[in-house]
Subunit: 122 residues, 2 copies
Amino acid sequence: MIDHNIEECSTACFHPELTAQVKAAMPGEPLQEELARLFKVLGDQTRIRILNALYRSELCVCDLTSILGMNQSAVSHQLRVLRDAKIVRSRKQGKNVLYSLDDSHISDLIRLGSEHVQEEKG
Amino acid sequence: MIDHNIEECSTACFHPELTAQVKAAMPGEPLQEELARLFKVLGDQTRIRILNALYRSELCVCDLTSILGMNQSAVSHQLRVLRDAKIVRSRKQGKNVLYSLDDSHISDLIRLGSEHVQEEKG
DNA sequence: TCATCATATGAACAATTACTCATATGATAA
DNA sequence: TTATCATATGAGTAATTGTTCATATGATGA
């Protein structure tokens, strides 16, 4: 849904050849859309806390409820978001459902992001 | 604003020692909050497209306007979000303002995220 | 079977957000 | 100075989202 009614800068403002080069080198829209969706899922404190917990151990919903200090419904809703994004995986064990991280990339992303955040503070 | 009225599971449901261990090993809340904020900023397709463009070259707002096919106001608003998050940097050159990535961690994050997304497709 | 427990989910609501429109700012050129 | 151009920004709005409440599902044990 890209609007092509661009108000092009009058003359010397923009750099046509550079712009064309960059435009040609850009990743495809579907990839960028999925990438944004991935980051959006990571962009919530509750979900980050869930992932930081699951990074340390496989846990059932009830454990997470206790660790996060949130009610079960809220936790389950966020777990669904993470499951849909294939960031966490679940398996049943009796009455419980155990969750764990689905993908090593995710912990790498969290590690890298944490480094950035920590360095920025200094 | 953590609610401590947790409905603790009756008995054998949750694993107290494990839960305590994980709780103790969790990163501090401020770090997790900032991390979530960082990912939230990355979690928008327009901003991802801006970053993918700036990854390839320093560009003025007008260039970005052309590359993204969006109007100047929308681009400037998103650039502000990125500037506030210290993800991009700007410098004046005549009437133009040139933007570039502020931090190498960001391109690493985008690279890593892209890998994840691409592998997931297969 | 029925009761209970852990988890999942739909609806509703408040808060946030990305875009548009209009206008302001600040630099250059005449 | 005044006009013009590139960019920034405030207000308004539609869409999205995180939480809560109530309820459903599905497994276990009696």
